[in-house]
Symmetry: C2
Subunit: 566 residues, 2 copies
């Protein structure tokens, strides 16, 4: 019998343990070792905001697996408190340092797995980064420190720096702990790398509703401390505010030093470069998780995609291949979903901005609709923004926001986009229907049909952003609101160009409209607005379009104000 295969895994968080478990199932005889510089393995790190917020009461719930479990159940050795210092590729060994004893040793491998993760990005130039009361949030220890700080120092004002996924989750968690919370974001919107502006606006409204202040378009320059060395203020380029608890949520940088020092290829996006089999430039060394680059399945570009879900898929592929099998990982779609208080927000594939940057002429829809039968208790309006290539109809991406069921629509699009679906394909999907779960036409059907209508030339639309630009620049056109008087009275866009003409009066009053006028129709969800466009065209009007998404997707205050996202 051959000597057992020696598999050495550096990193015990997500990809590493998964690779170990898979390798064990593929090769019951292999000698598998995980080295981890921390004291724990398999942390449920995505759950940290919910530990801070209190939804997850017991920290042990976030320790998904223990070293003991790996030993007893998996026959996998876990060396915690052990740091990989360097790789000797010719000798097939890794020099490791025992952080408790400072002893060094060389661990041999036949196959090496690098699952070294990522480190929170904190600008080196940021003054005050080391003050007490300043935290990052990627480890259970971070979350425990924040909870402890809240318990002992009774902070009142928190500032979260960065409005990405972790930033918004942290903001919600701190609000739930009773703190005043401000989120500072250098770009002009929340979730800037995930959402187009009008979709980000839903999250911005929800944050505001829940008492989170947003400082957008402001870059943090310093954290100022008191004489005890504790954070007391945060300063941006423009302003400063009091802050006795600061969470830095500025993304993460892949930990590639070990790989780089060993001469392994590092990609342009900053992660370890791997092939489809998750092999590095050394075929005996695999890498996965937050430290590697991924292929974006729509653009083919190499990107960083630090997600626990991706790390687990990497781990499985590595476990298979490291034990002599053959599996591949095709890449990611940049999928994300996040709960922002009572709002759910998801995105998949390319945003409109990303699709344009990738060279696509885009066709989009902004389709609001109920998440289940409109008459079923609890039905909520959600909005789907679908992005397709305007020539081929290929679906490129989607964004969904609302208080109802959002993740389902995202995952349907994940499946569709991964398999190369067109908007026709999405419109034809025999999605599950009964009133507690859906309407007879899913909002994805509507979203796909709107793009089909645009591609066929029937539907002509402009975006809320463009309508707002025209309103505020004083352009001459009619913004024709075809809702009922009651709906108008409840809320309407307060601009001189806007006028009410309910759809059921449209044909009778059509003579009152100048036939050569530039008209943008609007309603609540754009269904009636589209019909109005078609009816006016039937009456000989030639310059009519409707506003995508209409009132439900209008990201501005109803009172015209170009700057303010209310």
């Amino acid at each position: 019998m051959d000597a057992p295969l020696r598999i050495l895994i550096v990193g015990g968080m997500a990809c590493g343990p998964k690779a170990a478990a898979r390798a064990r199932r593929c090769d019951p005889r292999a000698r598998i070792t995980i080295i981890e510089q921390g004291t724990t393995v398999s942390e449920g790190s995505c759950g940290l905001p919910y530990f801070i917020g209190g939804q997850v009461a017991n920290e042990n719930a976030l320790l998904i697996r223990t070293p003991r479990y790996f030993k007893d159940i998996m026959d996998v050795d876990v060396l915690t408190g052990t740091r990989a210092v360097s790789i000797n590729r010719s000798a097939h060994t890794v020099d490791v340092l025992d952080l408790k004893t400072n002893a060094t040793s060389a661990l041999p491998y036949d196959r090496l797995v690098l699952a070294t993760g990522a480190t929170p990005a904190v600008p080196g130039a940021l003054r005050g980064r080391d003050l007490k009361g300043v935290f990052t949030l990627t480890k259970l220890a971070d979350a425990k420190a924040i909870v402890s700080e809240i318990g002992h120092a009774s902070p009142k004002r928190a500032v979260v720096v960065g409005a990405g996924l972790i930033g918004l989750e942290a903001a919600e968690a701190l609000r739930q702990r009773g703190l005043e919370v401000t989120v500072v974001e250098a770009l002009d919107r929340v979730l800037p790398s995930l959402l187009d502006p009008e979709m980000a606006a839903y999250a911005e409204k929800e944050l505001a509703t829940n008492g989170v202040a947003l400082w957008l378009g402001q870059r943090i320059v310093a954290i100022l401390g008191d004489s005890d060395g504790h954070a007391r203020k945060v300063a941006t380029e423009k302003s400063e505010m009091e802050a006795d608890l600061v969470v830095l949520a500025l993304g993460a940088r892949p930990n590639v030093q070990l790989a780089r020092d060993a001469g392994l290829l590092i990609g342009a996006a900053g992660g370890i470069s791997v092939n489809e089999r998750m092999q590095t430039s050394d075929p005996c060394i695999y890498a996965g998780g937050d430290c590697v680059e991924n292929v974006h399945r729509v653009t083919g570009a190499k990107i960083l995609a630090p997600m626990g879900s991706t790390a687990n898929k990497h781990g499985r592929v590595i476990g298979t291949n490291a034990t002599g099998g053959n599996d591949t990982f095709p890449g990611v779609l940049g999928t994300a979903v996040v709960k922002v208080f009572d709002l759910n927000v998801a995105r998949v594939g390319l945003s409109e901005g990303e699709a344009r940057a990738a060279g696509h002429r885009t066709a989009i829809s902004l389709a609001p609709g109920f998440d289940r039968a409109s008459y079923y208790p609890g039905a909520q309006m959600i909005t789907v923004k679908l992005v397709a290539d305007a020539f081929s109809g290929r679906v490129l991406g989607g964004q969904i926001a609302g208080k109802g069921e959002v993740a389902r629509r995202a995952d349907v699009l994940v499946s569709a986009i991964s398999l190369g679906a067109s908007v026709d394909d999405v419109a034809d999907l025999d999605l599950a229907y009964s009133p507690p779960f859906n309407g007879p036409m899913d909002v994805l059907h509507h979203a796909a049909n709107v793009i089909r209508n645009k591609m066929s030339g029937r539907a002509k639309a402009v975006s809320p952003v463009e309508v707002n630009r025209r309103l505020c620049s004083g352009e001459e056109f009619i913004l024709l609101d075809v809702r009922s008087q009651a709906e108008w009275d409840e809320a309407h866009i307060d601009a001189s160009q806007c006028q009410l003409l309910p759809l059921n009066k449209l044909r009778e009053k059509v003579a009152s409209l100048p036939r050569d006028a530039k008209i943008v129709t609007m309603c609540k969800t754009s269904v009636r607005a589209y019909l109005a466009q078609r009816l006016l065209e039937g009456e000989g009007f030639t310059n009519v379009c409707f506003m995508d998404g209409s009132m439900t997707a209008w990201p501005y205050a109803v009172v015209c104000n170009a700057q303010e996202h209310s």
Copy 2:
């Protein structure tokens, strides 16, 4: 200008109104008329059980559109109380009868749309079908009559005949009204045309938990009445029981008489035969909704698929094509989702039984898992049964049951199967992940990976049904439960072949197991059982497999009893 196109639509429920609305948007000048023999149009008929159950309090919520809406907004004429009597295809007219005045007239058409729906199937031989207190449930009038009966006659014992979708929804609704409820089903399980037996067992348990009695494998032969002509008993071939309210939910038959009389082609499945453009054998006549046959997208077979979701898609295609456009409908996947009290059940594509009947050698998985992060509040276990072709790995179908999020997984499979996905494709999907919505590996990923493991020969499994057969036939083998002592104490399969050997003791005690023994491993979800299979194989055991789904998918009482689905 040409004369406006005359579009005549027979049937005002789902497909008809949708075809009218789409036709209007495609052709603002067309003259569109809907004739409907009832007094209402656009009923939300899928919501009827929730009207009976009380979740939908106001019947108007189920009248999605009114004739007035069609006239005022859509410029569509709706003639209610009007029955289409015959079609004169050469004259392009439909003879109609005004049910109020008995006047007849001939309505002309350029394009005719048949959306005549379906009628509840009630066996002609069923005695007592016309007694008071006996209902079907397809129209709002039916639901109102049932609610009225409950209010005035105070029935105590209800019998629902038929355990399909409407039968189970009706049973729940009647329980919520406080009635004792028994469901009688001729076949051996609930939802027999939708689910394989071990998946139907989840729904059976939920019904039992909520006090619904199940009489399976019993065919109703008569309803017996009292001297007032009111139902009092239901008799099956084997037994009888008291019943003062009876709901017949035995499916529906497509209404094809009008089409058949006009010489249009009727298919072998009993519906009007249409092509991909939803044209009947007369190209000027379209048909859609419950009265037509659909193509099953996996088998290519013509089937009946009476769903409101499908009817709406039909209507859109018809509206496009009847106004000179060109659209096609590719068919259905037999998707269904149903709420059974607190349980959600969905299915898509082919069941294992259907896949085998269609000639596939099947590879299946029974994969239980949490619907969101295991530590996130409200996380629920759901079970996915995935069915694939064992040679190609193509996904053929899926069934999902559990108290958690089920519809999402069904819809992901809808998307995947429609686009020809393999289990590899499903395993690679970059599904949305954050703790409130999912674990890092979706249960669909697990389900796909189990099949991949089986196809690669690594995983060897038997179904719970087969294990039960072996247990009850007294076959000699070891059913090795590798859970903990505590889990065993909570519940275990009480059979002489079953023994406990916790996984963390497996290697140390492996010598106690005869190496030539036939071993079936099991645990809670089959994850540890699969690992145990692999570890035993590593120790030289050659006749080991695990039980698919293990305890979570075990459809029987834990005390061995071949007949009883507890």
